[in-house]
């Protein structure tokens, strides 16, 4: 109701529809004249009535179905969280399905139908085919398993045959090797016997010496000259050559000669002429000076033991062949510069040892034979020669060495802490009985203070043919070492005092070792 004009909307609409009487119509008309709002309202109602009248003249389309609503899917699109409940949803959806024309996608349904039919066919006829397939698979697996078994059996048989073959081959090889060994032994025995015979036939050096008892030359030189003559003669005979030169004199074996000997030996056997080793036939050997001081005779009578000699400062004695060769071999070991020379020297020593052994046995028998008839010098010679030969035998063949000799001749020496921590190789400068002067080859703190000192340090001496010797003792810095010089190139010198000695046996078990005892 419009309060301002006191004309109600109901009156205004009735006025427009012509339902008011004249008095009411006049009142409304008067109100409309001065009231714009009422005029506006009257205009809207008039337009609405006109539209209603027009709409009523046209047919209103009938609504299909009483419930036009959105489908659930459309509702879900609008309300993804929760679809408003509707009682007529099912009916509407059914209507939608019936009324909405959905194009049939044949490209989708036809293949799907075909696939379904095929699946049904497989399901119906599947078990029979499947059983046949299973049988085939089982047969195949059985055949494969039987084949594998047969293959394994064949392989086993082949292995057995192969093992039998290899055993037979090994037996044959063994027997052949035995035959060869027997042949070699027989041959070697024959050769040794022949050598003994030859030695027996050779003139006795003792007799020669007895006849020349007034010789001014030293006995040891004479002895070596004699023995060299024997060796040379023997080798010359074995070579089938006549000995022309009578005046064979000892000459120190040059290293080059040893090397060449070694090279010559590589492809040879025991038949290598010993005369070619060290005693050169072609090169004239200088005669030993006849005026050599005879004071060396006592030296032979009381031979210097190796352990008493300074390790690396031994003077060469031209008359002492064994010591000379020993010195050369030890020098080679210590310097470790020429292993080939070392090997050659060892081979020389071994061969010379064999020969000297034969010689010594012969000499001993002769000594017994001629002991009563020899004079003092002859006796001296007879005693000097075995001593010399024994020394040679010890030093060259290395059959029997005491502990000190083994230490001196070892190829590698390593230093260990009391807790057996390796400190690397050392170099022995010299040794005097229980004291070893040494320096470390791989010292890391050159020129600085000596860090290593204390008790129970270990020195391990190892060589190819000897067991490992372990010396336990105290390690101290040498007093005259220049600690403050700070010369980085200077190695610190140590003194090692031996307190215990051990040796590792074949099972690498420590055993006490007496350095003075020979092995």
């Amino acid at each position: 109701m419009s309060k301002d004009t006191n004309i109600a909307d109901e009156q205004l609409i009735a006025f427009l529809l012509g339902e008011l009487n004249e008095e009411q119509e006049l009142m409304v008309k008067n109100a409309l004249v001065n009231n714009a709002k009422l005029q506006e309202k009257e205009r809207i109602f008039a337009d609405t009535l006109r539209l209603v009248e027009q709409s009523c003249n046209e047919t209103i389309p009938s609504i299909p179905g009483n419930d036009l609503k959105l489908s659930d899917s459309r509702k879900r699109e609008i309300f993804p969280n929760k679809v408003p409940e509707s009682n007529d949803t099912q009916v509407e959806s059914n209507d939608n399905v019936s009324e909405r024309k959905q194009p049939i996608n044949f490209l989708f349904w036809i293949p799907l139908g075909v696939a379904a039919c095929a699946f049904l066919v497989v399901l119906i006829s599947g078990p029979k085919k499947q059983s046949q397939l299973e049988i085939a698979v089982q047969n195949r697996s059985e055949r494969e398993s039987s084949f594998h078994e047969a293959k394994q059996e064949l392989e086993k048989k082949e292995e057995l045959v192969l093992s039998v073959d290899t055993e037979i081959k090994l037996l044959l090889n063994d027997q052949a090797q035995r035959g060869m060994n027997r042949e070699l032994i027989a041959r070697t025995t024959d050769e040794v016997l022949a050598m003994n015979e030859e030695l027996k036939k050779a003139p006795s050096t003792v007799e020669d010496f007895a006849m020349k008892e007034s010789l001014p030359i030293p006995l040891n030189s004479l002895a070596f000259t004699q023995s060299e003559n024997q060796i040379d003669n023997l080798s010359a005979q074995r070579l089938g050559r006549s000995k022309t030169t009578k005046s064979n004199h000892y000459q120190p074996v040059p290293s080059a000669e040893i090397k060449s000997t070694k090279i010559a030996q590589e492809g040879q056997t025991m038949d290598v002429p010993i005369a070619r080793i060290g005693i050169s036939e072609s090169s004239p050997k200088p005669a030993i000076d006849s005026t050599i001081d005879t004071n060396r005779i006592p030296e032979i009578e009381n031979p210097i033991k190796n352990e008493d000699l300074p390790f690396s400062t031994t003077e060469h004695n031209g008359s002492d062949i064994g010591r000379d060769i020993q010195k050369k071999s030890l020098a080679a070991v210590m310097t470790q510069q020429d292993t080939e020379v070392n090997l050659a020297a060892e081979s020389i020593n071994s061969k010379l040892g064999v020969l000297i052994k034969e010689n010594s046995s012969t000499t001993k028998s002769r000594k017994l034979k001629y002991d009563s008839s020899l004079n003092q010098k002859a006796y001296a010679f007879s005693t000097a020669l075995p001593n010399l030969v024994t020394e040679n035998k010890q030093s060259e063949s290395e059959v029997k060495k005491n502990g000190y000799e083994q230490i001196d001749s070892s190829q590698s020496v390593q230093l260990f802490t009391p807790k057996a921590k390796a400190l690397g190789k050392i170099k022995i400068v010299q040794r005097s009985n229980q004291i070893i002067e040494l320096f470390r080859l791989h010292e890391t703190r050159l020129g600085q203070s000596v860090l290593l000192s204390g008790e129970d340090y270990q020195l391990r001496f190892s060589s190819e043919s000897e067991p490992v010797i372990i010396l336990v003792g105290s390690l101290n810095k040498k007093l005259d070492a220049k600690e403050d010089s700070r010369n980085l190139n200077e190695l610190s010198t140590y003194l090692f005092e031996i307190k215990e000695a051990w040796v590792l046996n074949e099972k690498e078990i420590r055993k006490p070792f007496d350095l003075n005892a020979t092995r």
């Binding site: 339902e19 609405t48 009535l49 609503k69 609008i78 408003p84 024309k101």
Partner: protein, 172 residues
Amino acid sequence: MDNELQLREWFEKLEKPLMIYAFQIVHDRAEAQDLVQDAFLRFLRQKEEIREPRAWLYKTLRNLCISFLRKNSRLQRSTDEDQLDFLDSMNRTIESSLVSNLEKNEAIDRVKHGISLLPDELSEIIKLKFEKQKTYEEISKVTGLSPSNVGYKLHHIIKDLSQELKKEGFFK
């Protein structure tokens, strides 16, 4: 979220009327559903505040229907053009007249829709009054209502329609 709650409320109220309205314009149920769904989705996505949701939904749906009819008529025209080139100008004239008539008849369609949604009693009153040109007295005799009551009911129908039409922009 408020917008969704409001939409849920108005969806429950106007789902059916809007469907009817769209169907009355486009004469296709599926298209009517699409258009109504689109109208509600637009309502949901509307960022600005909607003061008159009912009017907004009707107006939006009507515009969507008109757009649909324009597209549909253009497609129809293009197929016709292939066959009848000489009628091109005529077709254009027809199309423009159809659109203009459509735009003009929007209000009538809207009123039709409003009347169609009325209960049978009220739609009968409207029918008696505007089709049969009956007076209140005559309508009261038919309906059994008093003449004042007929006037009262008729007044409410017209008033509501006018307000809706005004809100939906039919009246300037």
